[in-house]
C-alpha cells in the first residue's frame, strides 16, 4: 500500500497534453497534435488571436469536453477516457473563470462565490469567513447580497474570479479574466492570481491583452492556426508585433 500515492500527495505535472486534437461535431479540427506540459506551481499566459481556440483548449482542461484525439493528463491522472463518476473529484481541484462569467442569476454574489465550497460540503462557518474575506479583497464588500444582473460587467467578472479561487484550487484556468475591468483593477486581479501561484497553484490565463501579458514575466503558450508554440515572457517591445 505504501507504493500507492495518495492523490493529494501528487508531485509532478499539473497538465499534460500529448498529441491532442479537438473538433466540434463534423466541423474542421480546431487544433490537432497539440502537446505541452504545465508543471506544478507554474504560471502561463495562453495567447492567440480571437477564434484561435483558447476557450476550446481550456474547456478540455476543465473537463467540459473530451479530446477527439490524443491523451490528456491532469494531476498525473489520465483523464482522456476517465469514467464520468471520477470527474467531480478532479473538477474540485480546478478553478475556472469563464469568458462569459456564467454566474447563477438566481443567487446573490455571496452564494455564487460560496458554490464550490458548498458543493464540497464545507462547513457554513468556513464558507461565511472565506467568502466574505475574498469578496472584500476583490472590492465587492458592498455587493455581497446583490444579484449578478444588477452589477456591472467588471463587478460580475470579479465575482467569477472569486468563485474560481475560493476553494484554493490546484489549477486555475482563467479565460480573459480581466477583459471587463480597468487597468488598475486588472493589475489587482492579476496580483490575486500571482499570490495563488506563489502559494502553489498552477495558473493559465487566456488573454488578448498584450499590455497585461507584457507586464508580468510569465511564459506564454501561443495558439495559432491549430498549433501551440511555447514562447518566453513577453517584452514590452513586442507589443503590437503579431507572433507567428
Amino acid at each position: 500500500m505504501a507504493l500507492v500515492r495518495k492523490k493529494t500527495d501528487f508531485v509532478g505535472d499539473t497538465v499534460q497534453l500529448e498529441a491532442v486534437g479537438l473538433r466540434y461535431a463534423d466541423g474542421p479540427d480546431i487544433f490537432s497534435d497539440v502537446s505541452f506540459t504545465i508543471p506544478q506551481s507554474s504560471f502561463h499566459f495562453l495567447t492567440g488571436p480571437s477564434g484561435a481556440g483558447k476557450t476550446s483548449l481550456l474547456s478540455l482542461m476543465y473537463l467540459a469536453k473530451r479530446p477527439t484525439r490524443g491523451k490528456l493528463m491532469l494531476f498525473g491522472d489520465d483523464v482522456t477516457d476517465a469514467k464520468r463518476t471520477r470527474l467531480p473529484a478532479i473538477r474540485r481541484r480546478l478553478g475556472v473563470v469563464f469568458q462569459d462569467f456564467r454566474l447563477l442569476e438566481h443567487m446573490t454574489a455571496f452564494d455564487n462565490v460560496a458554490l464550490p465550497l458548498r458543493i464540497a460540503n464545507v462547513s457554513e462557518t468556513v464558507v461565511e469567513r472565506n467568502v466574505s474575506e475574498l469578496l472584500k479583497w476583490v472590492g465587492l464588500e458592498e455587493q455581497m447580497q446583490a444579484r449578478p444582473s444588477v452589477l456591472s460587467g467588471g463587478q460580475q467578472q470579479r465575482i467569477a474570479i472569486a468563485r474560481a479561487v475560493v476553494h484554493r484550487p490546484k489549477l486555475i484556468l482563467a479565460d480573459e479574466p480581466t477583459g471587463n475591468v480597468d487597468d488598475a483593477i486588472a493589475v489587482r486581479l492579476m496580483q490575486l492570481f500571482v499570490e495563488l501561484h506563489k502559494l502553489g497553484a498552477s495558473v493559465i490565463i487566456a488573454t488578448h491583452n498584450e499590455h497585461l501579458v507584457a507586464r508580468f514575466p510569465f511564459p506564454r503558450l501561443h495558439l495559432n492556426e491549430g498549433k501551440v508554440t511555447a514562447l518566453p515572457p513577453m517584452q514590452a517591445s513586442e507589443i503590437g508585433v503579431v507572433a507567428s
Partner: protein
Amino acid sequence: MIALRSELPLKKGDASGRFVVWLVMVLVFMASIAVTTNAYIGALLGHWSQSVTGTLTIQIPVMLDANDPASTAATEKVLDVLHRHPAVENAATVPREKVTELLKPWFGAGETIADLPLPVLIDVRMSASEASAIAAVSNAVQTAAPGAVIDDHRAWLNRVIGLAEGLGAIALTTMALVTGALGLTIVFATRASLAAFAQVIDVLHVVGAKDGYIAGQFARRALLQSLLGGFAGLAIYAPTLGFIAWLASRIEDGILPDVRFPVSLWLTLAVLPLAAGAIAMITANVTVRRALSAKV
C-alpha cells in the same frame, strides 16, 4: 437526508411545476376511486358469500302429489330427514307471508298473490359446508321427495364472484394506468426543467457537483410536488366519498347490504399520496441520472 438549500432555481414558479401538482391531484383522486371500488366490491362479496355459504334452499314444488296440493306430506318428510341428518344444523320452512313479501315487487300486493299456488321453501343451515356434505343432504332430500329442487347458491355466487373479479380487474387496470401516467408526467416535466436549467447544471458540474447531487434536487422537487398534489387529491376525494355514501344510504334496506369498509381501505387511501411521492421521486432521480450520464 434532505438538504434545505437548493443550488438549482427549481422553486421559481415555472408552469410545469404547477402542472405536475395538478396532474398528481387528479391521478390520486382517480386512484382513490379505484381503491374504494375494489374494497367495496370485496366487502360486498364477503358479505354475500358469508350469508349464503353453508345454506341451502330447498324448494318443494306444488302439486307434487295431486292428493296433497300443498305438498304437506312431502314437506314433513323432507323436514324429518333434514332434522335427523348430521350435517344439518337446522332447517325450517319459510313462512308463506315471507314468500309473499319476496314476490310482491313482481306481482303487486293484490288478491292474485294470495291465490297463487306457491312452492314451499325450506331454509337449511348446514353444520358442515363441504361439497360432500352438501351432496349427501341433497341425496337424502331427493330420496324423500323426488322432484324437490335443491339450490346451494353456488351458481349464483359464482356469477357474482365473476362480476366482482371483472370490476376488480378494472380497478387494477386503473391503478396501472394512473401509475404509468404519473411516471410519464414526471419524466417529461423533469426533462423540460433539465433543458431549462442546462446552463446552471453545467456550472454545477464544473465546480464539481456529482450527478447524484443534481438528481437529488430534482427528485426532492418531484417528491414535494407529488405529495402536495396527492394530498390535494385526497382532500377533494373525501367529500366525494361522503356524497356517495349519502346517496347509498338513501337506498332502501335490503337491496344493498350494509357494508363496513375495512381499516385497510383507509390506510391504503392515506398511503396513496405517499406512494405518488415515492414514485415521482424515484422517477425524477432516474430520469436526471440517465440524461446526465450522456454528458462528458
